[in-house]
């Protein structure tokens, strides 16, 4: 006789809202064929509900955490948690989704009939990643990852008028599936080594037993890190990123990159810092190595790019390295803050790319940015601030983020990593500066100003977040500090 499972609606409320929302979008589209504007409001409402529900969750989670009752934070027999870490990441995901959709809305509209499906896919992908960041079970995590990833594969191929889009889709798909297989094999080996899929269970196991020959666990960890490293485009698992960023529809790349990075790093941080914190001595150097390789390779390669999207992709590789230093630092708040800031900036930056490339998402070569400072001063100004924010210039939030993760890493004893990181961030300046040079300092023919649609709200928010959290970072830092994993 099967006893009915206990359903914790609170724990999955936002995901439920998004999933139902996705279904709603599809149904409404089939039934009424609404104007894009209506669809837009609908999606906005869905995301608002999702975001609102996360805030509700935060209240619940805070109560539970205050009473020291971590048990109640775990729901669905340990499949999922509603700890601060999950909720914070989830909120970032939803926010990035909203901004990303706004940035790509003109592209979505240009898809015509397929726009609704694209929107639904975006919502579903967010649902998947949202489950992923909340998962307390590696298989659950894998499911969330796949839900999100598969949706992204499709999104990458949506700009079907462009040959590059297809290439991006197939590359993303093949390599992504390959990485997923590697990841899940790692999970299987971890299961073999510890007898559990649950993150808490694994930690318990490692706490209780001294494992005499843990090779299988290490292989598992290595494969899991490789698989997730792929998702966050950390070197040397980054190779897909430039090609996909360049090929995928310009409007949606920001979204794709941001959510994948947020979810991937949330997973890495949770797995390594919670499940395998007892083995930190072993995996820390390896993660530090990945971090260094990412920072160096990303920065150096970004320096020689002639395409802004590729440049941003490689800068994303470098950022993966910087965030990895936060993982090395062992404190989740630094990682979360960085992720939040970076996600917003990334979406904002790609919003600019989307505007410059136009709705059909054509090229994004550096040449097209020549004289942008004259053509569209506000757009160029926003882009400049975002780029400098990503570069980590003080008084932008990017600096606070970098400072946070560097401090954590230094405190862990990884001084050399911090030194490499600060030097890499100088090289990073060099390529961000290149874009700014082209925008402001190169003379241009006088072209018409670019038409900016809903992207302007994205940019306003992203720029505001970059500067305000750069000057008054404490609000977000406090939140991140409270957002602890169980």
């Amino acid at each position: 006789m099967i006893t009915p499972p206990e359903i914790s609606w609170v724990a999955i409320a936002p995901d439920l809202a998004l999933a139902i929302g996705a279904a709603l979008v599809l149904l409404v589209d089939v039934q009424w064929k609404p104007a894009p504007r209506v669809l837009g409001w609908l999606v906005g409402a869905i995301l608002a509900v999702g975001a609102g529900l996360t805030i509700l969750q935060w209240e619940q989670g805070a109560d539970a955490l205050a009473s020291g009752d971590t048990e109640s934070l775990v729901a669905f027999s340990g499949l999922i948690t509603m700890d601060g870490f999950a909720i914070f990441s989830r909120f970032v995901l939803i926010a990035a989704t909203g901004l990303g959709l706004a940035a790509g809305w003109r592209f979505v509209v240009s898809l015509g009939r397929r726009g609704a499906e694209a929107t639904a896919l975006v919502l579903l992908a967010t649902t998947g990643f949202s489950l992923m960041v909340a998962a307390n079970n590696l298989v659950m995590l894998f499911l969330g990852l796949e839900v999100g990833s598969i949706a992204l594969y499709v999104l990458a191929g949506l700009a079907r008028e462009r040959r590059e889009s297809e290439e991006a889709a197939i590359k993303y798909f093949l390599l992504g599936s390959f990485a997923s297989a590697v990841f899940i094999y790692g999970v299987a080996l971890i299961y073999a080594g510890t007898g559990s899929f649950e993150i808490l269970g694994i930690r318990q196991h490692l706490n209780d037993f001294v494992i005499s020959s843990p090779a299988v666990i290490y292989i598992g960890i290595g494969l899991v890190v490789a698989g997730l490293g792929f998702k966050v485009s950390a070197a040397p698992f980054h190779t897909w990123a430039p090609d996909v960023y360049q090929g995928a529809p310009a409007g949606l790349v920001g979204y794709m990159a941001a959510v994948a990075k947020v979810a991937g790093f949330a997973a890495i941080a949770r797995i390594l810092l919670t499940a395998f914190s007892d083995l930190a001595d072993t995996w820390l150097p390896v993660v530090a190595g990945i971090s260094v390789l990412s920072m160096v390779l990303g920065s150096v390669l970004a320096l020689v790019q002639g395409d802004v999207r590729r440049l941003l992709a490689y800068s994303g590789v470098a950022h993966a390295g910087f965030i990895m230093t936060g993982v090395v630092g062992g404190a989740t708040d630094g990682v979360l803050f960085y992720l939040a800031i970076y996600a917003i900036q990334l979406v904002g930056a790609f919003a600019v790319v989307a505007v410059v490339s136009g709705p059909d998402g054509a090229g994004s070569s550096l040449e097209e940015y020549r004289g942008l400072g004259r053509r569209s001063p506000l757009l160029a100004g926003a882009f400049t601030i975002l780029l400098l924010g990503m570069g980590g210039l003080p008084i932008t939030s990017g600096f606070v983020a970098k400072f946070g993760v560097f401090t954590d890493a230094w405190a862990q004893g990884y001084q050399w990593l911090v030194i490499v990181a600060v030097i890499a961030s100088v090289v990073a300046f060099a390529f961000y500066i290149r874009v700014i040079v082209v925008m402001y300092m190169d003379d241009a023919g006088d072209e018409q100003p670019l038409r900016v649609g809903p992207e302007r709200w994205v940019l306003a928010l992203a720029v505001g977040a970059t500067i305000l959290w750069g000057i008054f970072p404490s609000s977000l830092l406090d939140l991140a500090a409270d957002a602890l994993p169980i």
């Binding site: 197939i170 290490y218 290595g222 490789a226 390896v286 190595g289 390669l301």
Partner: protein, 627 residues
């Protein structure tokens, strides 16, 4: 009591400031008169303040004005003692006469008022130098007179030679200052202050002889710059590019004597270093004969006087190096009179000849400008050392003191004597070439006597050149008593006291002067072909002298050119290629690394797969191996 001496500086300074800002609104001669009045007023004030010293009852006083750089004991303070008073009187007195002369000389110049601005500024600076109460302030005046010298030499800035000469003067002086500054550093290190009062009181306790020698030699370096001694004299002949009153004031009477003044002022330090003193004297003697020999063969009237000045400054060094400070200062004073006279006379000639300076194109000017000729004759005889004119007394005292010192100073004494002979010869040559014989001037020259405003200063200076020597004769050592308070505690080399030695020495000195003058007159009163042949008979020596031993050229080839090469190498090879190349190289390296790593991204999925799997393998192996 003497608190108002700051006015002595302030008056010409005020004149300079006023003329600087409002000079262009003041009509031509008036601005010159205002400047003259300013410095004349300063002379009166200085004279009033000096009364107690003349009466023999005055005590040196230090007057503090305001703080400047207290950390190194350098404040604005004045020291008013007989030495300062004497210098101030010379500067203001001769200065006033030259100012007046310049009113006539600079007539018609479009920057007339600017000229007097600078002259007044110079007077203020020079007075700062001589009245300074500490080395820092002395250095202030020291540098400011250099500035004024720069401005005045380069007054006619459109002449490239003038600006080049101005720059050269300043830079060569700076080289001397370099030594002087290091000397000051040592002084500060030893005494912890730069104030005269503090230093001279404690000189005996703090100074070792090594340190004193070091300081003394470094001060000498500074003095060789300012007072145009070997090896830094090369700027002075070029400085003749400036207007002639400038040459008279700065490059004969006042500024160039600053080196002598500094060493005399630092007598308490030299007290402990016979070595440095001897070097001072030797440099002086060498310079004296060196420059005198060059003066023999010059054609330019001002060049003769310039080298003569260098030579006479050598005499002063010869004196103070022998610790005959009074003699040195005495010669400084008399030289100021007669050399200013000679320069102004030369100026008068040049003025009359429409800026002609080549003596070969003069001659027979006595008839055209008798007053100038007469006064210049007095000046020439004074320089030559014919008694009882001023030059005789001071020069004789120097030679006597050196003789009395004995030892190595016998050699220097002989050099001095020979120099006296040469001096008499070249100055006689100058006078004869200019004023005697047949006119050799160009067709368009219309020489005429200068206006009153120019001749009156000549007469005044001529008078001083005649009587100036009487302040300090062996019969009545007036100056020596006057200066006593300034050299308290310092051992001063006296001339021999027995009248026989003194008489023999004087006789030798007179003999040298007379022979020199006689030879000069005899050689050059003949027609041009004859004295030309006379000069040629001294070849190649004469040519060497005429080219001033080719020292400028030598410096150019051994110092200036290699220095420039070095600078070029540093700028265009080391800096642009080396240092900057390294910096840019790092940038290129990073970019190069990017370009090199780019092919990793082949675009082929399967290559990416290999990279991915290899990365995963490395991670796994690393984990297992370290676990």
């Amino acid at each position: 009591m003497a608190d108002f001496v700051w006015l002595v500086i302030a008056l010409p300074l005020a004149g300079a400031v006023f003329l600087h800002f409002f000079g262009k609104y003041v009509k031509e001669p008036l601005s010159g008169w205002m400047a003259s009045a300013a410095i004349g007023g300063a002379f009166v004030l200085a004279a009033i303040a000096a009364v107690p010293f003349i009466q023999g009852g005055g005590e040196p006083v230090t007057i503090s004005l305001w703080e400047w750089m207290p950390a190194i004991g350098a404040n604005f303070e004045l020291l008013w003692d007989p030495l300062a008073a004497l210098m101030a009187l010379i500067v203001t007195g001769v200065g006033t006469l030259i100012h007046v002369f310049a009113i006539g000389y600079m007539h018609g110049d479009e920057r007339f008022h600017r000229f007097f601005t600078n002259l007044n500024l110079f007077a203020a600076s020079m007075l700062t130098l001589v009245l300074a109460g500490n080395y820092a302030m002395l250095f202030l005046g020291w540098e400011l007179v250099g500035l004024c010298s720069y401005l005045l030499i380069g007054f006619w800035y459109t002449r490239t030679t003038a600006s080049a000469a101005a720059k050269k003067a300043f830079i060569v002086n700076r080289i001397g200052d370099f030594g002087f500054m290091i000397g000051l550093m040592l002084v500060f290190t030893v005494f912890g202050t730069l104030s005269f009062a503090g230093i001279f009181e404690r000189a005996g306790q703090e100074l070792t002889s090594g340190m004193a020698t070091a300081i003394g030699l470094l001060f000498l370096v500074g003095a060789t710059g300012k007072s145009a001694q070997i090896p830094l004299y090369v700027w002075l002949p070029d400085a003749m590019e400036g207007p002639t009153p400038v040459s008279a004031l700065i490059h004969a009477a006042t500024m160039v004597t600053a080196g002598v003044y500094v060493i005399a002022r630092s007598a308490p330090i030299y007290e402990f270093t016979p070595v440095a003193s001897t070097v001072v004297a030797s440099v002086g003697a060498l310079t004296a004969i060196w420059a005198a020999s060059i003066a023999l063969a010059q054609r330019d009237i001002k060049k003769v006087l310039a080298y003569s000045t260098i030579s006479q400054l050598g005499f002063m060094f010869l004196a103070i190096g022998a610790r005959a400070y009074v003699a040195g200062v005495f010669h400084l004073m008399t030289h100021a009179f007669f050399k200013a006279l000679l320069f102004l006379g030369a100026g008068s000639v040049i003025h009359a000849m429409s800026d002609e300076q080549d003596m070969h194109r003069m001659g027979g000017l006595m008839r055209k400008m008798p007053l100038t000729a007469t006064t210049m004759a007095i000046g020439a005889l004074a320089l030559a050392g014919i008694p009882p004119l001023a030059g005789f007394w001071s020069k004789d005292e120097i030679l006597a003191a050196d003789f009395a010192r004995g030892g190595w100073f016998y050699v220097l004494w002989i050099i001095g004597l020979v120099t006296a002979l040469l001096t008499a010869f070249y100055i006689a040559r100058l006078w004869v070439l200019v004023f005697y014989g047949e006119p050799r001037w160009q067709e368009d020259a219309h020489p005429h006597e200068s206006p009153r405003v120019m001749t009156l200063p000549l007469i005044a200076l001529a008078f001083l050149s005649v009587v100036g020597g009487l302040v300090n004769t062996p019969f009545r050592l007036g100056l020596e008593h006057f200066l006593e308070p300034s050299f308290e505690g310092v051992h001063i080399q006296e001339a021999p006291t027995d009248w026989l030695t003194l008489g023999i020495l004087a006789a030798l000195s007179i003999l040298a002067a007379v022979v020199g003058v006689g030879a000069g007159v005899l050689a050059y009163r003949r027609p041009p072909e004859r004295w030309r042949r006379f000069e040629e008979s001294f070849e190649p020596l004469w040519g060497t002298w005429e080219l001033a031993y080719g020292v400028d050229d030598l410096y150019g080839r051994t110092l200036v050119l290699p220095g420039r090469r070095l600078a070029e190498a540093a700028a265009f090879s080391v800096d642009a290629k080396g240092v900057d190349g390294a910096v840019n190289g790092v940038g290129r390296l990073v970019r190069g690394a990017g370009d090199w790593a780019r092919p990793l991204q082949t675009g082929f999925v399967r290559n990416y797969g290999v990279l991915f799997l290899a990365g995963a393998l490395v991670v796994v192996v690393w984990l297992v191996a370290s676990g």
